[in-house]
């Protein structure tokens, strides 16, 4: 059976070049970077090369990169670390309604522990307005934490403008760039970013590795204490094979980004337009064109439910994801879609396809051939579709 992976925002395969390099650091150059001997020194050298590669992709200095176990840990370090470091200065934090749980839950934890939280809304495309962030700023605001691009609908946020605003007010600015890294350019300097979360496994690197960029001079209290690795910001023996893989993945992403973005945005638009053309009662979620990540498609298919769509696609070898309650692990559908003003029933029928390197035009053709049949079958079963069709005929 044909298998088409269209869930690259969940995770990506490790690039073979990355995997081959990592293997060396598992079996041959396995030293602990903190050791004095030659085994340790070769690991340390490779670790620092990886730090340079990561820094280069985001326009940072290598010394500003702290490796972590992934995006979630980097978000926690940024938010909790800033809150602890600056709690005497103020207790107000600003975030947005469409953040990843790694940010939202961490902010809500702080709210339960004496901090004030303002959650800024988004418009119907999922984009935060600079004006609403500006209005939320108070004299005791210590941190603005938000994403660069949304994981569900691909909406790209005006981070450079908000960074400028944060700088003017002396507020620490944290950006979660897990979804945008390697897809669209990031420059921590021109975007006035103080803290930046990135992750390896979304860019063809290994799982279990990420990093937090910490601008020189910005104070972040550690969350993990121990042997003082990563300049005491994150103790624990470094995951050298993983970090080295992440470094290589960053280097490759930098080389491929422009070409990938151009190719994938064409496939993205082909998929979106094809769905609109072949299926009635659909709605594209999120912005169009340059305001959207080049690899993200998110559509709501009315009168059917997301998990049913995913199961049916999976049986045909197509991997996608959904914002329905059944897949969010709660009784409510995606908080992102609800924040954009979608009603529950439309959010339940949402379907996300996220494209990657290996996807071809044929993959998209295959989805466009199969999806309408799946939707027809599920709508045949759906009492809601009948009602809609009857209502239309009655008009």
């Amino acid at each position: 059976m044909r298998r088409v992976y269209l869930d690259h925002s969940a995770t990506t395969p490790v690039d073979p070049e990355v995997a081959a390099l990592m293997m060396t650091y598992y079996t041959e150059k396995y030293g602990n970077p903190s050791s004095v001997h030659s085994f340790g020194r070769e690991a340390k050298q490779a670790l620092e090369e990886a730090r340079r590669q990561v820094a280069e992709l985001i326009g940072a200095e290598p010394s500003e990169v702290t490796f972590t176990s992934g995006g979630t840990e980097a978000d926690n370090l940024a938010i909790l670390g800033t809150a602890e470091a600056l709690s005497k200065k103020g207790k107000h934090i600003i975030t947005t309604a469409v953040e990843h749980h790694a940010v939202l839950e961490t902010c809500e934890y702080l709210e339960k522990n004496g901090f004030d939280l303002t959650i800024v809304p988004v418009d119907e495309e999922g984009i935060v307005s600079v004006e609403s962030v500006k209005k939320a700023i108070r004299p005791d605001t210590i941190l603005i934490t938000m994403m660069h691009a949304n994981n569900e609908v691909g909406a790209i946020q005006p981070v450079a403008e908000i960074g400028k605003l944060a700088k003017e007010h002396g507020i620490v600015f944290h950006v979660d760039a897990v979804q945008s890294l390697g897809k669209i350019p990031i420059d921590v300097k021109t975007m006035a970013i103080d803290l930046l979360t990135i992750s390896s496994h979304k860019i063809y690197g290994p799982k279990g590795v990420g990093a937090l960029y910490i601008r020189k001079g910005v104070r972040v209290a550690p969350r993990i204490y121990g042997g003082g690795q990563e300049k005491k910001r994150r103790s624990g023996t470094e995951n050298t094979p993983g970090i080295i893989g992440f470094g290589k993945a960053c280097e490759l992403a930098g080389q491929r980004m422009a070409e990938d973005a151009q190719r994938l945005s064409k496939l993205r638009d082909k998929l979106m337009n094809g769905i609109i053309e072949k299926i009635d009662y659909v709605k594209i979620n999120g912005p169009l064109g340059d305001k959207r990540l080049p690899n993200n498609v998110n559509v709501s298919i009315q009168f059917v439910e997301g998990e049913s769509l995913l199961l049916s696609l999976d049986m045909l070898g197509i991997a996608a994801s959904s914002g329905s309650a059944c897949t969010s692990g709660s009784l409510d559908p995606s908080h992102v879609l609800l924040a954009m003003g979608l009603v529950h029933e439309i959010a339940h029928g949402s379907l996300r396809f996220t494209l990657g390197h290996q996807n071809t035009e044929e993959d998209i053709d295959y989805v466009l051939e199969q999806l309408p049949k799946i939707v027809d079958r599920l709508r045949m079963m759906s009492p809601l579709y009948d009602q809609a069709v009857h209502a239309k005929q009655a008009q």
Partner: protein
């Protein structure tokens, strides 16, 4: 996540559709929580002669709807009333814990249809 039996009923659901002039129709759930199940009955005497369903919902919602129709066809109304949501889940070889509450409503839809049948009969009398 789902048993083979659930996937079988999801892929090849039994008794999908409507019954024209059904003498009992029951609906449970709502679109807001992502599940709606509607069951149509054709009752003759005391026996369920035919049963069909229409469902909007996840894999478990479709499979339980399909299963319940299979379980009650040819049964008396009293026998049908004894079928519980848990019995439907069991007949499917079990459901994931998260689905036991939100999407396991097929027996409720059946009972609602039987109630509707009784109400319609009373009106006739």
């Amino acid at each position: 996540m789902y048993t083979e039996k659930v996937m079988d009923h999801f892929t090849n659901p039994r008794n999908v559709g409507e019954i024209e002039n059904a003498n009992g129709v029951g609906e449970v759930g709502n679109a807001k929580c992502g599940d709606i199940m509607r069951i149509y009955l054709d009752v003759e005497g005391d026996v369920i002669k035919d049963v069909k369903f229409k469902t909007f919902g996840c894999g478990a919602a479709v499979a339980t709807s399909s299963m319940v129709t299979e379980m009650v066809k040819g049964k008396t109304l009293d026998e049908a009333l004894e079928i519980s949501n848990a019995a439907v889940a069991e007949a499917l070889g079990g459901l994931p814990p998260a689905k036991m509450h939100c999407s396991n409503l097929a027996a409720d839809a059946l009972h609602a249809a039987i109630k509707d049948y009784h109400e319609k009969q009373e009106k006739k009398e």
